[in-house]
Amino acid sequence: MGAKRILITDDTAFMRMTLRKVLESNGYEVVGEAEDGLDAVEKYKELRPDIVTMDITMPKMDGITAIREIMKIDPQARIIVCSAMGQKPMVIEALNAGAKDFLVKPFQPQRVLEAIQKVGG
């Protein structure tokens, strides 16, 4: 199984870095980082990653809208939503929009890896 190519989406550099560390130290390739939803949609078209992690609250375009846009481009897209504790209702909305699964911040590394493995198929 080839290493999964992952696109990280989050508006804070700290979170992007945290995720990148966890993923790369476990043999995954982070092919790009997006800072908002719009950026994520553009990068998805360009990079065609295997998996996208998606923050919910972001400037320019929120995560849920971005999920819908990406699903339009690629109905097979595998997106994992990253939610903060207070965003429970948004998670269901994200799942309905097409997200395959979700993670809750603060991230526990094992959960992140579990999600990547399971969603990656």
Binding site: S83, M85, K88, V91, I92, L95, D101, F102, L103, V104, R111, E114, A115, K118, V119, G121
Partner: protein, 677 residues
């Protein structure tokens, strides 16, 4: 104990209604528990039921009920604390059933307005003592106190849904079951998927939701336990069960569930659809009122309790409206009234209103079926047999009156099936059948009728024995008996006092019952047929009309008075030729087809005239059961749908089944054909 205060007295009706629901759950739960005495969830449910009953009875001041419920509670508590297997003897269940029966008797007494005074409820003294002893047996200090209700009624907090002993999809309601069966019938497989998610999961609700979404990619979700709402609102522990229909193999279903983050296990159990039906009847826990009350948008909000007297008043009023509408249309047809199109509309709306109101009178058969698991359990235990009761179609609806009346005859048939049909386990084994006999009760709609079937896989009815017995009793001559078909011989069991049971048992007595059952079914306008195969079993088919409120009847006139004869009894209308009338044993008879049948003059039979009228020119031939008669009348008016009005008790006349108001405003008495023939 004191009489309830006036304020409390107002609550009596409500108390009785709710207590009955609890008692049904209790009965059903006990039957289930007997086969799964360690089922923690079921025990908790039963504990909660008696606890609720205790609380209600306490509020009403019925101390005897409180004592009894409390004693039962202690027993459940004892069983729950892990003594399940060893303590749960058949004797203990006899005791629990007896206590449930005593509670029921108390509630019935309350319902009859017997405001209990002193020990007016009767003393269950010995029972309470026996229950206490059972609760104390082997239990050191626990039990007696009756701990606070665990779980407090929060749906899903009932702990693990992992009730291994009960059917895997016990939680589905009738509608969901129907959907499941349909899917299975069209080739899908049914699965119970039990999912455990990580106890540390932060968002259990969305997690469950993600699992449901994942399962929806491989199949279709029929129902969940706890409910979907409960899951999404996180009202569950770490486990839940999904009823799924899918064309995928179990592994694919499991993979789909396991591929969701934080899912720790997913047990996929293929379900034989028959699995759920046995004795559980409906989804038992859903019938417990407390659960319904707490589930937010449950059944409670979708239904309204209405006093039956109000419903009957509504039916009567709509009946009046139908008649008035018919009168208006009648006048229009006779050109006494102009029509601008509104009259036809009135007729249409009225008949729609009428059928809507009739539907209000319909109740599901569940109301009577729910008694049977308990009855079968008791019968089987008393006769030392092993019997599994499968119930299907309990959601089938019928007129309330018919549902109320059909219980007894069905119980007769069930008794016969268990007592005479199903063989003892050893005998079954000898003939290569499973030790446990199967009794299947099913109901379904068929046009304007409901068909109820009761099937057993027992020894069948011994037709040869009927043949011998018919000769012994002089019912048939030796020659008649020899040539009689099996069908003809089977008819004999419907005759009073004719029984083939070799032993007179406590259960079915002397085989009275078949004739009584048939008479009761026919009194409801229904039919009862029996088919049997030696060694294979017996099938009883009960066919009932959907409603008794409207009948099609033939209107006849005699002496200027109009009478109605139910259409299903009518065979033909004959012109009476005086030369065709003969007298046999002093009674007038009419030659009809190949034989002779009694000729009954309606006016003589009803006492209007003493003389045999010579002017009778027409006869309506009626048949009920195996009897026929020709009813002599002056004139035949025609067929019409009638709304039956029952006569108040001081107007009850033998032979008169009710009255109807005709379009012309005249009143017709509806005659009972079985009284005429």
């Amino acid at each position: 104990m004191t009489s309830p205060t006036p304020e409390l007295a107002q609550l009596v009706g409500q108390f009785v209604d709710e207590a009955r629901e609890y008692l049904q759950s209790l009965d059903r739960g006990l039957v289930q528990l007997e086969s799964a005495p360690a089922d923690a969830e079921l025990l908790q449910e039963l504990f909660r039921v008696v606890h609720s009953l205790k609380g209600m009875a306490g509020t009403m001041g019925y101390q005897a009920m409180v004592d009894l419920a409390h004693a039962m509670e202690s027993v459940f508590d004892r069983l729950r604390s892990g003594a399940g297997e060893e303590t749960a003897s058949p004797e203990l269940f006899d005791l629990l059933f007896e206590a449930a029966g005593a509670l029921e008797a108390m509630v019935e007494r309350v319902s009859q307005g017997e405001v209990p005074e002193g020990d007016g409820l009767g003393q269950p003294g010995g029972l309470v003592e026996a229950l206490r002893a059972a609760a104390a047996a082997g239990a050191s200090s626990e039990g007696q106190s009756g701990r606070a209700v665990p779980g407090g009624g929060r749906e899903g907090s009932a702990g693990s849904p992992n009730g291994k002993a009960r059917p895997p999809l016990w939680f589905l309601d009738a509608q969901e079951m129907t959907a499941l069966r349909q899917a299975v019938a069209s080739g899908a497989r049914a699965y119970a998927v039990e999912v455990a998610i990580d106890p540390t999961s932060a968002f259990k609700g969305p997690r469950a939701y993600a699992v449901l979404k994942a399962l929806e990619t491989v199949g279709q979700i029929v129902g969940t336990w706890p409910s979907r709402e409960a899951l999404e609102q996180e009202r569950f522990e770490d486990r839940f069960v999904v009823a799924l229909v899918s064309d995928q193999p179990p592994q694919a279903v499991q993979t789909a569930a396991l591929n969701v983050v934080e899912v720790r296990s997913a047990d996929v159990t293929p379900v034989d659809v028959e699995d759920r039906a046995p004795s559980s009847g409906e989804a038992a826990p859903k019938a417990v009122p407390s659960r319904r009350d707490t589930s937010g948008r449950g059944v409670a909000d979708a239904t309204v309790r209405v006093e039956t007297s109000r419903l009957d008043a509504l039916v009567d009023l709509v009946g009046e409206l139908v008649i008035t509408s018919n009168q208006i249309q009648d006048r229009h047809q006779r050109r006494l009234m102009p029509d601008d199109g509104q009259i036809a509309k009135l007729g249409r709306v009225t008949s729609e209103l009428q059928s809507a109101v009739m539907r209000l009178r319909m109740v599901p058969l569940r109301q009577v079926f729910t008694r049977f698991p308990r009855a079968v359990r008791d019968l089987a235990r008393r006769s030392g047999k092993q019997v599994r009761l499968v119930i299907q179609g309990e959601e089938t609806e019928l007129d309330r009156h018919i549902v109320n009346e059909i219980g007894e005859p069905l119980l007769h048939l069930i008794r016969n099936a268990v007592d005479h049909g199903i063989e003892p386990p050893e005998e079954r084994e000898r003939v290569g059948k499973p030790r446990t006999g199967l009794v299947k009760l099913s109901a379904r709609h068929e046009g304007s009728h409901v068909v109820i079937e009761l099937e057993d896989d027992g020894r069948g009815i011994d037709v040869e024995r009927i043949r011998r017995k018919a000769v012994e009793r002089g019912r048939l001559s030796a020659e008649e008996a020899e040539h009689a078909t099996a069908e003809r011989l089977l008819q004999l069991i419907f005759e009073p006092g004719f029984s083939t049971a070799e032993r007179v048992t406590e259960v079915s007595g002397r085989g009275v019952g078949m004739d009584a059952a048939k008479a009761a079914v026919e009194a409801l306008g229904g039919r009862l047929a029996v088919h049997t195969r030696a060694g294979r079993g017996t099938l009883c088919i009960v066919r009932l009309p959907l409603t008794l409120a409207i009948i099609q009847a033939l209107l006849v006139e005699t002496d200027g008075q109009i009478f109605a004869l139910p259409a299903e009894a009518i065979q033909s209308i004959e012109r009476v030729d005086p030369s065709g009338i003969e007298t046999v044993h002093g009674r007038r008879v009419l030659r009809y087809r190949d034989g002779i049948i009694p000729l009954v003059s309606l006016k003589v039979r009803l006492g209007f005239a003493v003389d045999e009228a010579r002017t009778d020119s027409l006869a309506v031939v009626i048949a009920t059961g195996r009897r026929q008669a020709a009813i002599a009348v002056d004139r035949v008016v025609g067929l019409q749908d009638l709304v039956i009005r029952t006569l108040s008790s001081y107007l009850k006349v033998p032979g008169v089944a009710g009255a109807a108001i005709l379009g012309s405003g005249r009143i017709a008495l509806i005659l009972d054909p079985s009284w005429l023939a």
